[in-house]
Point group: C2
Chain length 253, copies 2
């Protein structure tokens, strides 16, 4: 983890900002829907609405890819679908393995959104010998022992970890050693990986906690709207060095 270089080789990969990259799949989804309805062209305004962003942002994003629109007209849907797909690397096939076939792993295996985007579930792997051979989503589960072989034979470079937290780092290490360079982690742990390996994490409980934060804030605002004046929203820092402020006496031994 504590290697000298920055984790990602460059903050902007090939000149396209991360924030833009993260939105490209959103645009792609909206464009695919339009394409299916045989809509030939869209304006930035329409597409932005469909993708849930504002049009200035969308145009800026597209400007990093090149000048693919026509002034006064808009964007050619099919052409943009192709350009974004290419930019995201979805014009090629990406075999992925899912490790940890519990509830979540099974859900992922069954998730239709992968196949339609150039991702192919090449194998399902689980540590439970009782699972071995059992088909999930039509794919027989294989045992962890064969992990390296499976990665190698299928040319897998993207791995999905859906194991319990305790097993995640170990699985991660084996995946990386076997040649996987991108990992999608569902286990609630921080994974250490060598330079050059990308990790993205999805943590369900973290998302809920962020919602809870805002939810709590809303509740506070309501109370405030009812009685108190404006000074209710005071920053905790204001009570800075004070004896206690609104901090309950919980300071332990």
């Amino acid at each position: 983890m504590a290697t000298g270089r920055t984790h990602r080789p460059a903050t902007r990969s090939r000149g396209i900002p991360e924030a833009t990259v993260a939105r490209l799949p959103l645009y792609l989804r909206a464009l695919t829907a339009l394409s299916e309805r045989s809509v030939p062209t869209v304006s930035s305004e329409e597409l932005a609405a469909a993708a849930g962003v504002n049009s200035a942002k969308l145009r800026k994003d597209f400007s990093y890819l090149g000048s693919y629109g026509t002034r006064g007209v808009g964007y050619d849907v099919e052409y943009l679908v192709y350009q974004i797909s290419r930019e995201l690397g979805l014009t090629q096939d990406w075999p992925v393995v899912i490790v940890g076939i519990g509830n979540l792993g099974a859900a992922l295996a069954n998730y239709g959104g992968f196949a339609s985007r150039g991702f192919r579930v090449a194998a399902l792997i689980d540590a439970d010998p009782a699972m071995a051979g059992k088909p999930v989503a039509g794919i027989p589960v294989q045992h962890t022992d064969d992990l390296e072989k499976i990665i190698d034979e299928n040319g897998v470079s993207i791995g999905v970890i859906a194991t319990p937290a305790g097993a995640a780092q170990q699985v991660c290490d084996r995946l990386v050693a076997a040649g996987v360079t991108s990992i999608l982690n569902f286990a609630p742990t921080v994974l250490s990986v060598p330079d050059g390996v990308d990790v993205r994490k999805v943590d369900l409980s973290i998302e809920l906690q962020i919602l809870a934060f805002h939810e709590q804030r809303k509740a506070g605002e309501e109370a405030e709207a009812a009685g108190e004046s404006e000074a209710v929203i005071q920053t905790p820092k204001e009570s800075g060095k004070g004896p206690d402020g609104d901090v309950p006496a919980v300071m332990p031994a």
Copy 2:
């Protein structure tokens, strides 16, 4: 959707930057682990390593909450756990409903990470009458018809949508109408909600697409390292007004 005000009442909620809020659950998790090992204090350096961030960022984040550390010593683990929990609103109980009990919904219902963080699965809801009454994760599934009643009776303000994309907006509308003000959306659609309602989305396929982008880039860099000189990483803009650049002739009808 297109209301005058900005979507979120304020960009910084109660003075704490969004980016910081998003990291608090990470710190909390690391702290909880330390707490379980009865570690009394941590330095910003240690805690940062455990949470996978750098120490400067962590200290800055904590500075928004107040001055909870001791110079020359570090942070009291238990005290910080409490402060962050309180800040995130996790000292209270949050009943949540999960709508759409397919593979993913079931996985979420079984997910242990919720209960341990103040979230309680108050009800499971599905549109399939055949599911009604069947217990998932020990909780009987209820029919969508009763959605409003369930929300109301349980005082639910956070809803999780794990339905197919087609049903998501409709479910969302009903949740919101019934009083839900925070939604965690797993369906691959953009949801429109009125002002004051928070939506967070988790899209598995989007995460993979982002990984694919970086994966592709890596492959490109390898090729480059083999033969070409440095000038290979040229920004697409450099070929700006040029005839074609590296764009293949795919422009459709």
